[in-house]
Symmetry: C2
Subunit: 336 residues, 2 copies
Amino acid sequence: MSQRDFVSAEEVAQRAGVSRSAVSRAFTPGASVSEATRQKVLQAAEELGYQVNHLARGLMRNESGIVCLIVSEVATPYRSALLRELTQQLQIVGKVAMLVNTDRSDGSVDRALQQAIRYRADASIILSGLPDKSITQLCLRSGQRLVLINRDDDQPGPLRINLDDHEAAGRVVTAFVRAGCTKLAFANSEAGTPSLMAREAGFIAAAKAHGLDVVVERYGWTGYEAGKLVAQRLLTQSERPDAVFCATDLLACGLMDAARHQFSLSIPDQLCVVGFDDIEQASWSSYDLTTFAQPVAAIARQAVTWLGESPSSDRLEGHSVTLHAELAWRGSVRGG
Amino acid sequence: MSQRDFVSAEEVAQRAGVSRSAVSRAFTPGASVSEATRQKVLQAAEELGYQVNHLARGLMRNESGIVCLIVSEVATPYRSALLRELTQQLQIVGKVAMLVNTDRSDGSVDRALQQAIRYRADASIILSGLPDKSITQLCLRSGQRLVLINRDDDQPGPLRINLDDHEAAGRVVTAFVRAGCTKLAFANSEAGTPSLMAREAGFIAAAKAHGLDVVVERYGWTGYEAGKLVAQRLLTQSERPDAVFCATDLLACGLMDAARHQFSLSIPDQLCVVGFDDIEQASWSSYDLTTFAQPVAAIARQAVTWLGESPSSDRLEGHSVTLHAELAWRGSVRGG
DNA sequence: GCAGCATTTGCACACGCTTGCAAAAAGCGT
DNA sequence: ACGCTTTTTGCAAGCGTGTGCAAATGCTGC
């Protein structure tokens, strides 16, 4: 294998004329070192290009500084935005992100968590998929923190961060009603994740409260193409909907494009559309989509600060946080 | 601190009734263990939920299995797509990605590389920014491999993966000329990275070869908003361009939206547009943008296979790979 | 100068793993 | 049964670091 040769604390100690422990202490905030030797060490380290070996440090301290991010569909706008916030927040508190892509087969979330354990990650943050309960238990038993984002699992132990999907979906109905819409539809994928289903259920429930029915169409994976296909199905029905709530902005973009370019419908005059996530493209003037903003920064902050807190408090019970999704009014619904 | 308690090889050995070394060997492919004890160990490990400590393993083997990805603007479509491919490819060869976000201040690329060294990453892949030469030297001296993607640096040592930007830009001119365009423009940002500048230079050079002038406009950061603003500047000129090559798809999207919605221009009838990157949105029917496809999968494969090769071959000279950007013909240019 | 105290320093062990080496066990041909 | 070779096994050293403990050093006030 490659002949790797990083400089060690030993060499620094030798050059600075001190003991190896002095070097260690010089790099440990709050350790007992005189300013004089600290400077000698730091200079020697600088000259040699010494960097503390975090593998060894993690081994000793029993704290690696690694946080594992488990995520599929990394290249999706919402996911990548969340990724950006998480990595940034983590770095601020001195941790580093290990990214595990679970796009391949399923059950790979479990293997991802195993990977996290192998590297003795201080915590794992799961953005997609759901781990097997046994693996979750193993993580907690090993003292690894766990954060579930937007996966409404009821296992105790992990921190669960969710949005008020159900309630938010209700607010869409009133918006549609105020715009004078009567034939409501919901566009979803077949993924069936809890958050998607909560939006669907909330929408239907609120519609019923207004005495309105809603046509539901689900197709494939939650992306642009699926949105186009759902549009085909919805807009060719005998009673064409005049308002559709899409479970996701990507679905909404696909649906809007199909509505305009294939069915020559004008938005919002003939069709009102609302999405969810507030991805960057939602604000592009071709879409100008009214949508719910995922508070990605707040989500990331919640997750990271929880990691910093003392774990003793609610180790057994776990913690659940519900954040508010604010409706970003744009031009895809009449009468904002 | 948290009382972490992972199960160790010692406990597994005890339960399986073998020595520590047997456990170690059971988890080392190709090590000398009898099938019988191997099974005993594996079962005990399974029951206890044992996972090899990769920090300790990395310390011994002098090979962490970590590859550091250094990247800014993670949430950008092109970057996130590259990220997806890289993580996937890395996982296939049994490595794991450590993601360092350099969005904050500059010079942070250097700090990111220091982080990579601290964790004894086997390699670092730089997707954005450029490291200081001294840090690069330190990495190489320490035996850490380095890959630069689309940053045309001439330092020896690292693997440099680039596209044929200059030549590709030339092909745009012929496409525009064939479409009957005569008033060419180039839309760029002020980022000034080598790949962006190569596209600009290639475009101008090829235009000159055809006896055509080109108006260049640069503004801000390479994104959608910049595209809109560049459009304002370009389309209000006395001699309005009839064809514009955008250094990036995001710029192109912004420019197209402005052209259509603010200037009521029809694309491609009154204005031809070509972009670069082939982000997902380029194929959305609202844009249907003719653009150059970044061969993200090929780039990732190149990087990862190079990491697997023996380092002895060209340690000093480094290696440079130029990949081909294929033009994806769509509807934003007349007469594909 | 010296006792008394606070601060700094070095030694040595521990963390969990891999691996060379020699001893033990197993296979094999006669 | 024996000697021989091949495989398997345990011991112990080592990877680079943090840290408790005791020794050493530096101060302060007489």
